[in-house]
């Protein structure tokens, strides 16, 4: 282990970790938005929305995230979408993880007892009100942990944007491996930073989950 070298390069990795963190947060937000829309479409009364939701989930879960990212970033200009690498990364990864989150959210919503819907409708709530005031508050509690699993995968997934040259942790590690020929050292620094981000996120999710428990 070349500690001298590690001490010299680590500031670059800290900077890169900050980019990884930004990517993770923005991707999570976009993923949650796509997941919510997707779950609503999957549970809609209208067949057309259900179909759109099903195709979204199937296509985005059925093909590699890396390819989706490449279609957007390299293929985008051909259909008039010109994005910088960071934005393409957030949109590509966010829409991808949204497909996984769609299924997580749908699972939590259908896990709520049917009797809840029936009771709410009987006391005169509209379908929308039933969802908004009865089902979602209960389902939201069930979602926290499985969404945490999605977010954990997403943080590691942000490494993919290294392939479109966003200077985040993995790209930085790759660059320094190339210039120093010290793969193990570079892995240790970037790995440690990933672990910190993932550990902190995990604690945050566990805290939210505890707070959301009814009993």
């Amino acid at each position: 282990m070349d500690f001298d070298l590690m001490l010299r390069v680590y500031p670059f990795f800290i900077e890169a970790a900050w980019i990884t963190l930004q990517l993770s947060v923005l991707t999570t937000l976009l993923g949650l938005a796509c997941g919510t829309l997707g779950a609503m479409a999957r549970l809609s009364r209208l067949r057309i929305f259900r179909m759109i939701g099903a195709v979204y989930v199937s296509v985005f879960r059925g093909t590699p995230a890396l390819i989706q990212l490449f279609i957007l970033y390299f293929g985008g200009p051909q259909i008039g979408i010109q994005l910088d690498a960071f934005t393409a990364g957030v949109i590509g990864l966010g829409v991808n993880i949204g497909a996984y989150m769609t299924e997580t959210m749908r699972g939590a919503i259908i896990a709520i007892d049917r009797g809840q819907t029936e009771a709410a409708r009987t006391v005169g709530l509209s379908r929308f009100q039933t969802m908004r005031y009865v089902i979602l508050p209960q389902a939201a509690r069930l979602m926290i942990r499985p969404l945490g699993v999605n977010i954990n995968a997403l943080i590691k997934g942000t490494a993919l944007v290294a392939a479109i040259s966003v200077v985040e942790l993995t790209y930085t590690a790759q660059r320094f491996i190339g210039s120093t020929y010290k793969p193990f050292e570079m892995f240790m620094i970037s790995g440690a930073l990933y672990m910190i981000i993932i550990y902190a996120t995990g604690r945050g999710i566990a805290w939210l989950d505890r707070r959301a428990r009814i009993v």
């Binding site: 590699p64 390819i67 293929g75 942000t158 993919l160 020929y181 672990m195």
Partner: protein, 218 residues
Amino acid sequence: MNLDFTVIPAYLDVVLLGAVWTIAITVAAALLSFVGGIIFAVVALYAPLVVRLPFRLFAWLFMGTPLLLQLFLIYFGLVQIGIDLPAFVAGVLGLGLHFAVYNSELIQTSILAVDRGQMEAARTLGLSRGQALRKVVIPQAVRDVIPPIGNNMIALLKDSALVSVIGVSELTLSAQLAIGRTYRPFEFYVLAAAVYYVINLGMEAVQRRIELRIAAAR
């Protein structure tokens, strides 16, 4: 809009050859991750502490860092210590080890879920601990864990795209080759996505059949 899908047929053989390599990598890495997963699970549960602790550290590190980073470590790290593996082997090794760790977590839970009475009965019949594990407990544990492992293997297929980054000429890199000649990224990446999707559907169909057979065997 600047799309021209008529460029595809000229490079279809290149891309399909890439697809064959993708399937080969997926199958090889899947086998490695399955066998590795069982070995890792046994080590994590039964090995002496001096083996178990470093192993836990390794597993923890592998589950907490991105696959892409691990591929760089394996590919360039092995070169550094004097082992110059072909990219294909490094890719299979990286994917296989990564998913072996995930499979091992599933298999550990499953081994612990096999009724204690099975081990006790096997020991009473005169089997050694190792024999009882190998012939009685693990087969049952593995049967129960096949469906979730199937999900991991489908994830493995999609993650196999990452080995293009270390230069394995599978589906993704083949598409890039065609793009390099034609400057048509949209068309060829969409083609690659379609091929992945079809392989994915095939794997899901196989998974369903296996699950039905397991359900019937119970």
